[in-house]
Symmetry: C2
Subunit: 428 residues, 2 copies
């Protein structure tokens, strides 16, 4: 296909007329499709239904130590639940605190604790004139919402195919003591599906932060969320890399079973150094007596260990793979060579990221909506909902059926073409 920018004004005008006709036809179909959030489909949730039989009225509800999991207690989680979650990220169970149903809640509480109580004896962030966080972009909207809600200044860091631009990260972290954190999704990043290279991870571990209480918020949300058996991304284990580099306390890692068992009814954890764990527990013991141990036991008995989780995730992949491919194949087929957008073919995760021509993202999302297909709001992948180039669109292919997805993807590429043609005509 010929790149659109090489078309003459007359060719573009004619193309626009054709595309508008197609768009009207599409609108007439009265679609009602949602590609906005990374929600598992009902098929995927069905995979975990047997988990609900694991604990019943006849079950022995004692953990490995003989503790009655039905009663109060155990602030930091059952040993076996720690081991299960530790296996997902490759850390030691001693580095894990098991929390409740969502890692988002842990991340919020971790920032809130730093604000109110400080980290390892350092000044609480709320007492400082300025606190800054680095935000690789495009990124996860709910991360940015947390830091925004605490009045933390967010600084965009461009993503590259190997992760955040580490020159920029090093420059800021190593020189500005107001930089207290960075949001990272190191594997199958949200939304691009990019996995940090080994070098990127090691450069993270070897940062020399100007602020002693600088922390990497390492949201390993998609650590076992591969789409293929033969193409699986892996990253070096960050806690041990940091320890090796003399920065043992520099990372808070987060993960959960939200997209493994049931979103909202899973278990989650923070993994971090012994020092940080002691510091966290001091506050945590005031906040709670302990999280839901029966649900921890339910997960442990259903999955047994990391191999059980991996086997389960292969079943998820069987459902997810055709959906990703339906969208990606449509993008390749319909937009390949037109030079009106770029995208990455991820090996895992929950999203496809589409980079439209500058100034087109909002218009594309609006056009999709007018024809009945809801996308994540343009700008959502940037701090303050402000995508300076107005070009990034997050596509979430997991929830609709493959058939619906194909229809939604067809509409999406149509809208991309139409908006791009309109954009190009502006300057002809």
């Amino acid at each position: 296909m010929k790149p659109y920018r090489e078309l003459t004004k007359e060719e573009l005008v004619q193309l626009k007329t054709e595309l508008e006709t197609k768009y009207k036809e599409a609108q007439a179909k009265g679609l009602h499709l949602d590609m906005s959030r990374g929600k598992p489909s009902a098929d995927q949730l069905d995979l975990s239904m047997p988990m609900l039989d694991v604990l019943n009225s006849q079950s022995d509800l004692k953990d490995a130590t003989g503790l009655d999991c039905r009663n109060y207690g155990v602030l930091d989680g059952l040993k076996e639940a720690k081991e299960l979650l530790a296996g997902m990220t490759g850390v030691s169970a001693d580095n894990v605190i098991v929390y409740g149903n969502a890692s988002l809640n842990i991340m919020y509480d971790t920032v809130a604790r730093a604000m109110m109580h400080g980290i390892l004896g350092h000044t609480p962030w709320c007492k400082l004139d300025k606190v800054k966080f680095l935000c690789p972009v495009p990124g996860y909207d709910r991360h940015f919402a947390i830091t925004e809600s605490f009045g933390i200044e967010m600084i965009n860091i461009p993503m590259t195919v190997t992760g955040p631009d580490m020159d920029r990260v090093e420059e800021l972290v190593n020189n500005d003591p107001a930089v207290k954190g960075i949001w990272c999704v190191p594997k199958y990043s949200n939304p691009q599906g990019i996995t940090y290279s080994d070098e990127t991870v090691r450069r993270f571990a070897n940062l020399k932060p100007a602020a002693e209480d600088f922390r990497i918020f390492w949201d390993n949300a998609y650590c076992v969320h591969h789409l293929y058996d033969d193409r699986q991304d892996e990253i070096p284990e960050i806690l041990s890399e940091c320890a090796k580099a003399g920065n043992p306390d520099m990372v808070f890692e987060f993960c959960s079973t939200s997209k493994i068992s049931f979103p909202g009814s899973g278990i989650s954890c923070i993994a971090t150094s012994e020092n940080n764990i002691k510091d966290i527990k001091k506050q945590m013991t005031i906040q709670t007596i302990g999280h839901d141990k029966l649900n921890q036991l339910r997960h442990v008995r259903f999955f047994k260990d990391i191999d059980g989780i991996k086997a389960h995730m292969r079943k998820h992949a069987v459902i997810l793979r055709p959906k990703f491919e339906a969208v990606l194949d449509t993008l390749d087929r319909e937009l390949g060579g037109l030079e009106i957008g770029t995208w990455v073919r991820p090996n895992g995760g929950y999203f496809i990221s589409f980079e439209a021509m500058e100034g087109c993202a909002k218009a594309i999302v609006a056009k999709c909506k007018e024809a009945g297909v809801v996308m994540t709001g343009a700008g959502a992948t940037y701090p303050y909902h402000n995508d300076p180039k107005d070009s990034n669109i997050r596509i979430a292919p997991s929830f609709p059926t493959t058939e619906d997805l194909a229809a939604a993807a067809d509409l999406f590429v149509l809208c991309v073409k139409l908006v791009s043609v309109e954009k190009l005509l502006e300057t002809k």
Copy 2:
């Protein structure tokens, strides 16, 4: 029995010798008993085992609106879960936000939110020079731990048989704008088992706080935790009382199923005005996508409604009643008339409170411990662990067997007698 204070020095010395002999005999038994925490016993937990069969792999996991409870969403809880918890406190379901597994966590988060973000647009408490909370004493140690952890100054308010000393409460709340809150357990208070009188509740509702963001933290932890069928304490519903008095936003009420179903695996809620709910949700939507809806569904389908909860609580009462009576009967029989301590016979709740002679509580608890019976640490029922008279001891009779309790209670009264005799001898 003759009051100890009327005994002569010689009589006291002889009594001391006799008691010391008995104490040595008791020590020789090598007891290992725990009356320190308000934990349900295994028998009580067994009552809720059928709840684990309610959801299984064959269940329809949609709520009344058809929503798939296995997936993300529903920030403030399922409608039917709101109704269940609303029924416990007599409020409308519209006034309820359902949270996770523990009301303690909601209380912590509620104070934390006021500290960081302020209440209804008022200055965040962390920006103020001084924030004070009123603490009816004796009270619940974990309440005091929350306010202490945020550096909030705590002021003791004496409890009376009708609730906190309301003259003192009114004087402080209505005149000092630094007073931002008060901790209350209005029904079967922890530890005294006192239920606030209707007049006390109405005086609360009619406060005229100097601070517009003053809030009553109304921890209705024992709202359905009666010990008897024919002696059940009730209190006026505080939200509507406050609304009537022109203070619709003045209360945060908390309750949970922790001591109804499984502690740590229950559901919990905050009940408050529409304005406060809007304010809370603004922050909550940053903190979480939603709490465990499957566990909400499990509770709703097991209990069905407030009548189901009441029927279930009668089964708890059958188990708890003899334990309370074993302790209370021992206190009556062994200490009645000696004038070395006072106690109240509660109609519900989880504790018995013993008021020893001034300066004796720590010594009694220590003596118990040396003979193998662990009590809640003396002082724990006061802010900063400081009981100015060193006289209050909290007894938690729920966890041990009735047989063990009888042995523990025997030892307790022996220690009370011995320490009291020693105290009286100091001044003879």
